[in-house]
Symmetry: C3
Subunit: 383 residues, 3 copies
């Protein structure tokens, strides 16, 4: 059913007129990329448009491109911590507005591409701040950091475009590093917690709690938004499910693989319980399994490999960056996914050009349509 186009569903519901069809129709129109919404929004007020762009931006963090998913995620963030929710909202608005003011490409802005780095920077600044919630001075670096993301996004895209690579969360990772390095642990204005390397050994005597470890798997999905509570994490997973069930399945699979990798390297138990071991695996698995590559059994295997690589790279980077009290953020997943997108082997045949990336189910359906044109286009971008 999922594979049918919306038009077919519409036609079917019109001809038969059953109530259940109409409900399904309405439900289906809320899944995937919701491109039809963009057309409706064109004559609406700027504030309404900005809200949709911002919600897309929030969802983009977890590789979804759907304003309803964004709404659910934002609700989850406010549920977990109203202060964090506020910071996230401010971050996405500031970075999207900066992009509008700086005259970035309007298609990119309306697709939420200039929002997700701002959200992440704001959320992480909030999480690492040791000044407690509602420390209003924090809004200053949040605004400055979110705006800086646009500069980095624009500059990096010039470089990465040469290889048809997405900018992804490189700007977030760079900005949060600069912020944490600028403000040391005992900074008088913006103090922050140090990051603890996951390789640090536990005091002996503690045994691994299996239930806690399994609980860490859905938490790994929530940790993509630096959210460590179970309820909001499940809501975030639901938001991904709304966008694409395939992506949600890969998120859980990737988080489980990340946890497995953490176990094999004997990381701190806290790292497993909190889901911090899983979130890079989840991102690595989602990006390869369906989003940037057409789903098939081969890409599914590559997605598993990507999840393992992301998870191990994350442990390595955490241990390395822990020596200078920095967190590894999502560097590992970002670098591994970039590496996967650069592959020249059999994986390249499944690669979807960045400009045509949509929900995995849509990719799968339209695969046959663009496959023919793929080689020709690749050559033209390669010149």
């Amino acid at each position: 059913m999922w594979m049918e186009t919306k038009r077919e569903v519409e036609e079917a519901s019109r001809s038969r007129g059953s109530f259940s069809r109409r409900v399904l129709n309405a439900l289906l129109s809320c899944t995937g990329d919701m491109k039809h919404l963009d057309e409706c929004m064109q004559d609406k007020s700027f504030v309404l448009q900005l809200a949709v762009w911002a919600l897309r931006g929030v969802a983009r963090v977890i590789l979804a491109n759907n304003p309803l998913s964004g709404t659910l995620i934002l609700a989850a963030l406010y549920w977990a911590s109203p202060w964090q929710g506020l910071l996230g909202t401010l971050g996405v608005l500031v970075s999207t507005l900066t992009a509008v003011i700086m005259g970035q490409d309007s298609a990119e802005v309306s697709g939420g591409l200039h929002g997700f780095n701002g959200v992440l920077v704001s959320l992480l600044m909030g999480v690492f701040s040791s000044a407690g919630d509602w420390y209003w001075w924090l809004l200053l670096p949040v605004c400055f950091g979110s705006a800086t993301c646009i500069f980095l996004f624009s500059g990096l895209s010039s470089v990465l475009d040469r290889w048809d690579l997405p900018v992804a969360v490189f700007p977030f990772n760079i900005v949060i590093f600069l912020y944490l390095l600028c403000t040391s642990q005992d900074n008088p204005y913006f103090p922050h917690h140090p990051a603890m390397p996951p390789g640090a050994l536990e005091p002996n005597g503690t045994t691994l709690n299996a239930i806690e470890v399994i609980r860490g798997i859905p938490l790994g999905v929530g940790q993509i938004f630096a959210c460590g509570a179970l309820g909001p994490s499940l809501l975030i997973l639901g938001a991904v499910l709304l966008y694409s069930p395939l992506l949600a399945a890969h998120a859980v699979l990737g988080s489980a693989i990340g946890t497995l990798a953490g176990l094999s390297m004997a990381v701190r138990h806290g790292s497993l319980y909190s889901g911090l071991s899983g979130f890079n695996g989840a991102l690595g698995c989602m990006a390869v399994g369906g989003l940037f590559f057409t789903f098939s059994w081969r890409t599914h295997l590559f997605a598993i490999a990507s999840a393992f690589l992301s998870a191990y790279a994350d442990i390595a980077l955490c241990n390395l960056l822990g020596t200078v009290e920095l967190p590894a953020c999502s560097w590992a997943a970002t670098l591994v996914v970039t590496l996967m997108l650069l592959q020249t082997s059999s994986l390249a045949a499944y690669r979807i050009p960045i400009g045509q990336v949509m929900a995995p189910e849509h990719n799968l359906r339209s695969r046959s349509q663009w496959a023919a044109g793929n080689t020709a286009e690749r050559e033209s971008t390669d010149v």
Copy 2:
């Protein structure tokens, strides 16, 4: 008056023949890029030519391309410390000669592009050496380091040319890192001082001295040459003023912004007083405000943004590199300016192709002439 072409001035002075005009004429011909000097020099001896190339190289450090500015700056260096002046002279000569021997592009050599990294490497080696002045063994690494800059310049230009980016001071930053890492603090042959991170807190009880902070602003311009004395710093600022008043204004503005950024992050007072907080801001501000972009109110705002970014990035890098006892040198400004040159947004419209970069006043004047041809050329370099 500044905006008139030299030919107009010449004609005017010829027709009216007033003495003041002739003085102004002579004065004006010493400002800007002094391209007319290159024509006069073509039939002169190699030693004289080398001197001009070297002086251009000295001025290039602070983004000026004028042999008279270079002379003034060299005088300032000798004034601050004869030993440092000697090292700088040796550095620029060795690196320029290496470029000649290695058969680098003659236009680049005569433009001083192969000199400025050598000057900086030599000066910084002298500043960090803890063996005191007139330690003659230091001339060995100075020569070797200056020559290495040419290899790095040539190699990096192959990569950066793809995006029409300048090599800037990347070679200097890399070579000085390698030197400081090779020779640890207690090296028996080449001992050096460790770099102190600016985030280190002062012992409490000290209050900030406002006059010292303001004094740090012109010192920030001098710190581009690792010079911490007020007189020579003002002479260096004068040398920039001779090349281009717009550039000099941006240097002071950028240094002030850097000091402001330092205050907002509560860096060590010594860092503010010595001008070390300001020099990255000054470089970031100068490069964007007039040199690589045509001056306008928009680019002026971007120059301010660039100065802030450079200054904060410098604090971050100082704190990071301080953990391994390395100085941040001018990495921050170099990276931020590179980022600014990569922007695809409205800023790109003001971008001057690297091959056509001249004094800001000249850029401003000839803007209309090449603006038409800009798009066509960009496409050809982009292929």
Copy 3:
């Protein structure tokens, strides 16, 4: 005699039929790249083909491309330590098989390009493991690490191809870093020795032993395979001599230069005695002096410069990475050789396109043939 083509030798031996000629003929056919072997192997079984690919892969570590050299080197590794020999064999087989399964370019696979990173990763994992020999669990990371090299090779080649650069040992250097960072010193499953920075001062009282230092020069060639015994090191040098006497000469020269650089920076005596100071110099010297550039007196001078740069960069990186207990591996030589290949000056005229790199003697001979076509081709790859 070396300069004559094999065909001439064959003809000569046929016409005169002397026994000594026939022996020389057979001997000469075992030197160089042994391209004629590939033709013989095409109809052989897969296992035999895989063996040749793997042996080429082993030899590729030291820039030779000859299965007989590979056999000699493998014998040297088993001689030095059977466990290390086993790890190396497993590493090259796993990475070559992964490349076959992933559908990498068959010409690359049969040239051994997908084997050498696997060998190095396996050998270094064995050397750094503190669990002792015959610790079978180590085979797990060896297999996983060797397979990961293929992903990195494929991804990096997409990027580096733009500048016609070889991927070289970048994948090895990255994978071994990730492994060592993942598993800290006191990891319960995969413990490993920490790397010691060479800048650490010796307790005073020890005098440098000249014979040990000279003994360190051939050991430097062995250290390319992490082999610290004199006999196997000389056998490895013999294997290079079989492939190309010019390359072997540069290996010894480079190792001597590396030792000299180590002396000038007063590194730990152990570093000089074990050959660790020399191996980056050897690699840097070999790559520039004959392999990637046609041999001449100019390239010979550049090879010496490259050896010095590699050796000093290695000391710098060892000191830097020693602060986080990581070894510098062959980062220095890899980066310096990449830099040399990017040169635009007179050195570029001697550059051999990556696709046409063969044994130095062969390069020297065919120089005149492709020199004419070089400019045209360069332009086409530059577009």
